[in-house]
């Protein structure tokens, strides 16, 4: 039988930098989870990405055990790194701030596929391209499926 879930906690923590202070301390502590054990595991699993802000979803069970999934950096951050822009456009429809290729969209899509709940690379690419457009980033050329 599946274990009963008592809480789902969504955080973003810098790689290798989890510590028992807020919000990790209060969020996990209130559920009776051993905070130090979470920190030790999170830091060991993210030691190759020091300083990068990583989304993490922690599931706490009724018996006070827990597990967690570490996601790769959000799509918007990856687009920002690829294009070198600092923020999205205030008027994404009229004012374009950068351009990416479909190859770049595909690289990000493949990296984020599991996190995006996408079943195919194409559907993940559509989601990444959607985020790009709403940030005012043009995707150049024709989509591979056109």
């Amino acid at each position: 039988m599946a274990k009963q879930v008592s809480a789902l906690i969504k955080l973003q923590i810098k790689g290798g930098a989890a510590n028992p202070s807020p919000p990790v301390g209060p969020a996990l502590g209130a559920k009776g989870v051993n905070i130090m054990e979470f920190c030790k595991q999170f830091n060991a699993r993210t030691q190759d990405k020091p300083g990068k802000v990583l989304p993490v979803v922690i599931t706490v069970y009724a018996d006070k055990s827990f597990d967690f999934i570490i996601k790769t950096p959000p799509v918007a951050i990856q687009l920002m790194e690829v294009t070198g822009i600092k923020s999205g456009s205030a008027e994404p429809n009229r004012k374009k701030v950068a351009q990416v290729s479909w190859e770049q969209v595909e690289t990000i899509a493949k990296d984020k596929m599991t996190d995006l709940n996408a079943f195919t690379v194409e559907s993940a690419m559509r989601m990444v391209a959607g985020t790009a457009r709403s940030m005012g980033i043009t995707v150049s050329g024709n989509a591979p499926w056109n």
Binding site: P23, G32, I35, K40, A44, Q47, V75, A76, M80
Partner: protein, 279 residues
């Protein structure tokens, strides 16, 4: 240490805007973020907060989308209290009984350790602590000079003392752990020569027969050069706090410093390893 919590309300449907803001605040020194229904909360140690850096980070986004924020101070507290009040005593290798102050002693075990962990690491429950304690129970510690780096609750140094170690230095960079080491060494009647708060820079200029370090891979890689300097030829060094796969990275670096692999243990992918310094 007190923390600042800055609660952000984002007036936008676009999730990516939250991510961009979080990323910018991460660069401005905030270390953790919690997603909320209105936006997110961002956290930073109060003494690292710089108003100008903070406002500058927000500036880039002020024109792009609309958000509001409110800053409050969160006082330091023992968040681990609930877990501690339920923690189960532990028996290691049938020899060592680890309990909290509120548990009854058990006289049938030759060694007993009492820990009051608060927010320090090390109750013996974590796989890495268990394996390090097993090493201390298996090996000869009588009359040895010990350095315990990243001591946490001090549990490894306390066990070393109970196994006959004579001169002990325990170091942790976290002030919470520093207090915890002092408190637990008193509780167990195992006084140490030195308890220091800091990193590798404050390791005393002495020679040690045994070094214990249960930290993590990156910090061990950074500090092992210093360990090599204070470890006597023929001295033992025990490392943990990393996964078995990381041993391939750590081992060659230790070899370069003339500290040679002897053996290791694993438990649920976690690893503890013994090295010997060449004579």
């Amino acid at each position: 240490m007190n923390y600042f919590e800055v609660a952000f309300t984002i007036n936008s449907e676009e999730e990516y805007q939250r991510d961009l803001l979080i990323n910018a605040l991460g660069e401005a020194g905030f270390d953790t973020f919690e997603e909320t229904s209105a936006g997110f909360n961002a956290y930073i140690p109060a003494d690292s907060f710089d108003e100008n850096v903070f406002l500058h980070a927000l500036n880039t986004y002020q024109d792009v989308f609309s958000f509001t924020w409110e800053k409050t101070e969160v006082p330091q507290k023992n968040w681990n209290e609930v877990w501690e009040s339920n923690f189960e005593p532990l028996i290691i290798k049938d020899k060592c009984y680890v309990r909290a102050t509120f548990h009854e002693p058990k006289v049938q075990y030759p060694l007993e350790i009492v820990v009051d962990p608060k927010m320090a690491f090390g109750t013996g429950h974590h796989q890495t602590t268990t394996m390090m304690m097993e090493f201390i129970l298996e090996e000869d510690f009588a009359a040895k000079r010990i350095l315990d780096m990243g001591a946490g609750t001090g549990i490894l140094a306390i066990l070393a003392a109970k196994r006959g170690a004579k001169n002990i230095t325990a170091i942790d960079y976290d002030p919470v752990c520093y207090d915890s080491i002092l408190e637990n060494s008193r509780l167990n009647n195992t006084p140490f020569d030195e308890v220091l708060c800091g990193s590798k820079e404050i390791i005393p200029d002495k020679q040690y027969d045994i070094i214990l370090a249960n930290i993590n891979r990156n910090i061990l890689l950074d500090q092992m050069g210093k360990y090599a300097e204070v470890l006597v030829p023929g001295g033992q060094i025990y490392l943990s706090g990393f996964y078995e796969a990381d041993l391939e990275i750590l081992s060659p670096e230790m070899n370069k410093l003339k500290m040679l692999y002897v053996k290791h243990k694993t438990l649920d992918d976690w690893c503890a390893v013994k090295f010997l310094k060449q004579t």
